[in-house]
Amino acid sequence: MIRRFTDMLPARRTFYGYMRERVAPMPETLPLIEGFLVRHLPNSPVDEASLARRALAGQRDAWETLIARHDHRVVMSLVARGVPLDQARDFSQRAWLRLIERQRAGRLIRLELPGLAMAQARFLALDTARRDGAGLRASAATQDADISLEDRILGRERLARAQAALDRCSSSAQEVFRLVYGSPGLPHDEAARRVGLSLQRVRHILSEVRTQLRAALEEIEEKEP
């Protein structure tokens, strides 16, 4: 009988193996180390996964950083659905508080942002609109916007046209665009650091790409009856 060669080898005793066996089972260790590093190396790039781990471990500064990073996007997601700016800010604030409460209660296992905060804020907006008679307009607008978003924004043709317009941009512009608008989406200054450009240059690139994609999307809108 042929025995597998690997079966005959002794168990691996490497540093990586040690970390996996001993450190990984202690989920509180890694966020503590990461928190220590962030406090003592404030200029080091902070990645999203590390922030999420630390936030799930209850570290306040991690929550603050995450809110600063994603709050504007949450607010804009509500504004896009027809919620007035003031109310959108309020719903966003409440959504963050709700997430922190859930984490403290131990009911938050994963933290994928900004999607989770957007969903929470949207749920709060819809719930308020249903309960509040005065919010009927907002509710109608929200549902209306939902339909139009699904029909138009997620439309295959528009998406393909926008992607074609994006493909026509330079590779560096595409990279900047994907860093900022991709998931989870980096703040402009961090994207600038990542690609080695100035903040002004990154904003200029984003503005240009935005103009081109808007033109591509509007072109389709005009063709639609």
Binding site: A80, P84, Q163
Partner: protein, 161 residues
């Protein structure tokens, strides 16, 4: 509050979260002006659409076409490079027998130069292996055409003459 409407550029920057100086004024105007609030909504929808575009997987066909084009481009570049380099390589590795011509470089002071020139022009330097007729014999007036033939029968016929 700003009396006039917010400019397109400022509104776009506000939607992108990139407007810091004057953001407060813009925001207070947006609260009061329904026209600008509607424009902001349009900008916000564009932001959502851009996120969709950035997160959507790129189509496989396009990727395949792009890879195919890259491969074809690479092959074409390699072919052009080969066409350019081949003559150079040939020149350096060209064997001396390319043209199949042979010359003889006679003894003398310029024999080495002759051999070098021959090599440069792709000629073979070779010397005949058969015996070279001696000059003395030719100059003594010996008729070589009347020399006895080498075959036995022919030799006998020659002797009977």
């Amino acid at each position: 509050m700003i009396e006039r409407h917010v400019g397109d550029q400022d509104l776009a920057m506000f939607a992108m979260g990139a407007l810091h100086a004057g953001a407060g004024e813009v925001e207070s105007h947006l609260r009061a002006c329904s026209h600008c609030a509607a424009r902001l909504r349009s900008e916000a929808r564009l932001e959502m659409a851009l996120q969709e575009v950035a997160r959507a997987p790129r189509s496989r066909t396009r990727r395949r076409v792009r890879r195919g084009l890259q491969l074809a481009g690479g092959l074409a570049a390699a072919a052009v490079l080969a066409m350019l380099l081949l003559p150079l390589l040939r020149r350096h590795t060209r064997p001396a027998t390319t043209d199949g011509l042979a010359i003889v470089c006679l003894d003398g002071l310029d024999q080495a130069q002759c051999q070098a020139d021959a090599r440069q022009h792709g000629l073979v330097v070779s010397y005949p292996t058969s015996e070279i007729p001696r000059y003395e014999e030719l100059s003594a007036g010996i008729d070589t055409s009347r020399r006895p033939p080498s075959g036995t029968g022919a030799r006998r016929a020659y002797d009977n003459k």
